[in-house]
């Protein structure tokens, strides 16, 4: 237990306008560290992922869907992992996984969309703020220098990466990440590409949405050659499981092979809204997650980049402590975040929230403000100024 956090976390501060500072983006780990954010959409049941099987109340609250004590993979004391997460347990035992327990925020919101907004924008009055990673990009001016400084491996760009004047590439299929002219007339292709580049280079000043299209497409065209080059450089031999997250992480590994100077990758996978018949779905998701992360980290190690990569997971909320009558769980609050990588100082961070001292809705009381995790990653891993990105300084956790 590294930190008992509850009282030490700063109150929920409203962020002031973004400070644009060209801060040095170097950390003790170097100026080429890479953060891979993994979004688990739908509200991941943290209590059946990092299982507090030995804590009072766990089996009472979950007589049917609770993970049996003899099935849990024990980690430390009362805490273990879901039985499908064997690969992740191995990584934990190697000291490469930090588990931040009870991560959340005050006055938790039980709506998927509003709570996801809070996590994306790192603030409770979410709608008026840009995404926290967009703020990071603006503060470091990294994206201005390199259109691939942050890359989302999703078709739709996460709000975490959306912000005023920030343009982030999103790549869901490398094969399709190019502008194709008429295949019958390759002799016209140069003129076609030139015309497209000209069109997107124009000023659509009075039309904000058209301007956004032009800026985004311009940046896409500027990065097409790099992306296609990266794939050509990829020599991966690791077999990935057949799983949505695995496909995304393999794309990340392919892009990494191109050495494009990317510091942030963003991937997402869903299906965690397990209101009913949770066990089978959740097992499949957690097993797929664990196997995908394992394959990805081996691929990264093959590229000689293990020491540069840190994976951070989050979900918009955890789930209700007590199971419901549908053999599922309703929307909850605090949940563990996982920080994974060879440079991570592994272990459990923060105390597990009580399973019996719950809030008025029967939900966990959070222990660590998730912005402490963001702040630690920003400062400790990316070498960025957390004040410039989060508008406040949160207590550093010790995992990097």
């Amino acid at each position: 237990m590294v930190l008992a956090a509850a009282g030490a976390v700063p109150a929920f501060l409203s962020r002031t306008s973004r400070v644009v500072a060209n801060s040095s983006a170097s950390s003790p780990y170097g100026s080429d560290t890479i953060l891979v954010v993994v979004q688990m959409s739908g509200g991941n049941d943290g209590l059946n992922m990092v299982v507090p099987f030995g804590l009072d109340g766990y089996h009472e609250a979950r007589p049917t869907i609770g993970i049996d004590e003899d099935a849990v993979i024990p980690l430390e004391g009362a805490i273990g992992l879901h039985p499908e997460m064997g690969k992740l347990a191995e990584l934990y035992r190697s000291g490469h996984v930090a588990i931040v327990q009870g991560a959340g925020y005050p006055n938790p919101i039980l709506s998927h969309f509003q709570s996801m907004d809070v996590w994306h924008r790192a603030t409770p009055d979410a709608s008026i703020h840009d995404g926290w990673l967009a703020d990071y990009l603006a503060a470091t001016a990294g994206e201005a220098a390199n259109p691939m400084y942050a890359t989302s491996v999703t078709d739709v760009l996460s709000p975490a990466l959306r912000g005023q004047g920030v343009t982030v590439a999103s790549i869901s299929s490398i094969e399709n990440y190019q502008l194709r002219g008429d295949p019958r007339h390759p002799e016209d292709d140069q003129a076609f590409q030139d015309a497209a580049t000209w069109i997107y280079g124009q000023d659509y000043g009075s039309q904000p949405l058209q301007s956004l299209v032009a800026r985004t497409a311009s940046s896409a065209l500027a990065s097409v050659a790099q992306v296609q080059g990266a794939v050509a450089a990829y020599r991966g031999s690791i077999e990935y499981p057949s799983f949505a997250l695995a496909n995304s992480l393999k794309t990340v590994a392919q892009l990494m092979a191109g050495n494009l100077g990317t510091r942030i990758y963003y991937v997402a996978f869903g299906g965690f809204d397990t209101h009913s018949a949770q066990a089978a779905t959740h097992s499949r998701l957690l097993g797929g997650f664990s196997d995908s992360i394992d394959a990805f980290l081996r691929d990264v190690a093959d590229q000689g980049k293990a020491d540069r990569v840190l994976v951070m997971t989050f979900s918009e909320f955890g789930r209700r402590v007590h199971e419901n009558a549908s053999l599922g769980t309703d929307h909850g609050t605090a949940a563990p975040m996982l920080i994974i990588g060879s440079r991570v100082k592994g272990g459990l961070y923060g105390d597990h929230p009580s399973l019996t001292d719950l809030d008025a809705n029967g939900n966990l009381k959070y222990g660590i403000d998730f912005r402490s995790v963001y702040g630690t990653v920003l400062e400790g891993w990316l070498g960025a100024d957390q004040q410039a990105t989060l508008g406040a300084r949160y207590e550093r956790l010790g995992f990097v």
């Binding site: 039980l110 078709d155 295949p183 124009q202 549908s326």
Partner: protein, 447 residues
């Protein structure tokens, strides 16, 4: 750019109240005065649609409704070929609003039936629509109401009903969520996919919901919701943003909400009021919202007179960010700027290129350059650029863009301008290439 000409107004109307117009449709609607054209679209029950329904029945027969690509194909066919474009546009609106996804429901026939239910009630009064949706098997499965039992209520439907379907957050409490969940206990569906009320699983006890106490059931909850002042503006604003632009004034929304409430929540009258409003023809509205992938794709097919949905269509839409019957979550798709990313823009551009480069004897999917030149009497490259700009973006291109398009069309050609189209090869390249370029412009991404 403003909407001074009637042709342009009608093209705008057909993009918003439909999926864009073919040149023939635009001409035909431009023959009415604008308000008549709006009413023709809104009062679509009076428009015969027999040919479409017959062709849909054929597709249901040949493709079936058991697989997702089949029902996606059939719906796209409706969007393309219906004589009632607003009916299909409203169905899409409600699909996004009551966003239900096959990745959880797992039964394409139930998804297909839900879309049918949304279509049948698309312009009904909102209470009728809500009562129908609350009994729809795909919805009951999607939000777990089929396991909402007296002994332990499942909150999923109750929560999203208020947050996303009727009131918006901030207009109810967690207690209201729990009490509404109790009211919907026992609203199940049976093995045949029919709604059933299971008395044994229903909680007949008293509930206090939004300040009113009684032995409420689901219909009572819907009635109480519609008594809330937040309900009418919530729906009015969402429809305004769908049809007009994303920055309505609060006065306008309040006025529309009052009318909506006074009309007994008639969706048809609300839509009519929005389309007749001056805002609808304002400069801010014109080319002021981002086309969803369905609008983009169906629109381009109509512009080139393509009659048959290609097999590749559902996959193309999915890669552009719109997997029909599979919205990303219960909040539906993220419209507006949410459609725009580097990945989706390249997909849009490449989908346009797929269409413009399509060749073959049967013009099932693609333009026919020689026919376009003939039909429009095009003699010179600048006439081609103007005609294509008119067809594709109502001529809404800047002088600089026009000049650049012309430069592209004429690149490598030094002969007399009126001999340009003498060479069929050159004609083919020029028409397809110029059309593709216009279709990747920012303005083409706008409805």
């Amino acid at each position: 750019m403003s909407i001074e000409s009637n042709l342009r107004r009608v093209a705008h109307l057909l993009r918003r109240a439909g999926f864009g117009g073919s040149p023939d449709e635009i001409r035909s609607y431009a023959g009415m005065d604008f308000d008549q054209a709006v009413d023709h679209l809104v009062d679509y029950d009076a428009v015969a649609n027999d040919a479409l329904e017959a062709s849909v029945a054929d597709l249901e027969e040949t493709l079936g409704t058991a697989r997702l690509p089949a029902i996606q194909h059939i719906w796209l066919h409706r969007m393309l070929s219906t004589a009632r474009p607003l009916e299909e546009k409203m169905t899409l609106f409600w699909h996004d609003h009551f966003a239900t996804a096959n990745y959880k429901v797992g039964r394409p026939p139930a998804m297909y039936a839900q879309i049918g239910l949304l279509r049948a009630n698309a312009m009904a009064d909102f209470g009728t629509l809500l009562r129908a949706v609350s009994r729809d098997p795909a919805m009951l499965r999607w939000l777990d109401n089929n396991t909402n039992r007296k002994s332990s209520p499942n909150e999923n439907y109750a929560r999203e009903l208020m947050e996303l379907f009727t009131l918006g957050s901030g207009n109810y409490t967690e207690l209201d969520v729990r009490e509404a969940a109790r009211a919907f206990t026992g609203w199940f569906f049976n093995r045949d996919g029919e709604f059933v009320f299971n008395r044994n699983q229903h909680d007949f006890g008293e509930k206090t919901f939004l300040g009113q106490t009684g032995p409420w059931d689901g219909d009572d909850v819907l009635d109480i919701i519609l008594q809330q002042p937040a309900a009418a503006p919530f729906i009015a604003e969402k429809l305004y943003r769908f049809f007009v632009h994303d920055h309505p004034s609060s006065d306008t929304i309040a006025r529309l909400a009052d009318q909506f409430r006074a009309s007994g929540y008639s969706i048809r009258e609300l839509v009519r009021a929005i389309l007749h409003s001056p805002d609808f023809l304002s400069d801010d509205a014109y080319h002021g919202v981002v086309k969803s992938p369905a609008e983009l794709f169906i629109g381009m097919m109509k512009q080139f007179g393509v009659r048959e949905i290609p097999k590749s269509a559902p996959g193309l839409l999915r890669r552009m960010g719109m997997d029909l019957f599979n919205p990303p979550n219960v909040a539906g798709w993220d419209w507006g700027a949410g459609w725009i990313s580097s990945a989706t823009l390249l997909e849009r551009a490449n989908a346009a290129g797929l269409l413009t480069a399509q060749r073959g004897n049967n013009q099932k999917f693609g333009p026919n350059p020689a026919a376009i030149i003939d039909a429009l009497g095009i003699r010179t490259p600048d006439q081609l650029v103007d005609a294509l700009a008119q067809l594709l973006v109502d001529g809404d291109v800047s002088a600089a863009t026009r000049a650049h398009l012309l430069q592209y069309v004429a690149h490598g050609y030094s002969g007399p301008t009126d001999a340009f189209f003498a060479d069929p090869q050159r004609t083919d390249r020029a028409v397809r290439g110029a059309a593709h370029l216009i279709m990747i412009t920012p303005v083409y991404q706008m409805a």
